[in-house]
Subunit: 151 residues, 2 copies
DNA sequence: TATTGTTATACTCTATAACTATA
DNA sequence: TATAGTTATAGAGTATAACAATA
């Protein structure tokens, strides 16, 4: 039975050059996106994880636990990441009035500014590889990506 | 002057909801792709970096230095990654007849098999989010991605 | 002298397990 | 007793600097 499943798999993918090429192209976009993200982060002397947390908190302050869920990592890791952001004055921990166990992480004013600049940095990506597409082509791309993601 | 540059930036991106949405959608695809990649790797008890190196070598054996270039990291890091792959019998270091300083990293037979299975694992990505697209839509997506990447 | 790969070091991210203070 | 956050620990990836072998 396991063999049948595997055969079905192989038939679906390896025999379909089109799908394979699309997967490969997406891989290239992924690498490109990641590089831009890391570059933007390191311009502010931040690691990728720190930049991601700061970006999250700039949208909405949240408990440590929830950051871990968003990052898909263990809560214990968030402690260190927020520690480093806090020691640089970009984030602060506030008590939650409703539950004294909870600590709400929130960006400081400088943190919010940094997050904004980081977001601008990501626009390099919008300009560079995305700049090659006309408005109509962007609409097509948007619709295709929506289709892919909305299941 | 710095201000002008920044204003131009902001105008390009923040005022263009379409481009912004596309960047955000691509961000989602990037996360999805990454998750699938890590999942496929950890199914073989490999880290992302180890899986990437194994995938590289399965296409073509290469010197340590070149792996570092491909990974965009320092050569000193590659030593450890290949060490771990080698200690698991997935990769071996061969001398380069042409230059005795060089060590060529190459997958073992088991390493090649693992790389193949890893590649199949990535097809989950092809089936899941990409499965939502018809053949014509995949062609459109392919053409748009090609356009983006070929500059 | 320059280059290849390695070692040593330090930092960050990661998971696991045990702890504390609340609930 | 369950939950939120932390600490301790160990493994992995990363950059930097210094080193041996070879070119």
């Amino acid at each position: 039975m396991g063999t049948l499943v595997h055969m079905a798999r192989s038939r679906t993918s390896c025999t379909d050059p089109l799908t394979l090429e699309v997967v490969e192209l997406i891989g290239s976009v992924v690498n490109r996106y990641h590089d831009e993200y890391e570059r933007a982060a390191s311009r502010h002397a931040l690691t990728g994880a720190q930049a991601r947390v700061l970006g999250l908190l700039s949208l909405e302050p949240m408990p440590m636990r929830r950051i871990a869920q968003k990052l898909k990592c263990e809560p214990s890791n968030v402690t260190g990441i927020v520690d480093r952001l806090e020691s640089r004055g970009l984030v602060e921990r506030r008590p939650d009035p409703a539950d004294r166990r909870v600590k709400l992480a929130a960006p400081t004013e400088e943190g919010a500014r940094t997050a904004r600049e980081l977001r601008d940095g990501l626009d390099d990506f919008a300009r560079e590889p995305l700049g090659a597409l006309s408005r109509d082509e962007r609409v097509s791309l948007r619709d295709l990506l929506r289709l892919m993601l909305e299941q």
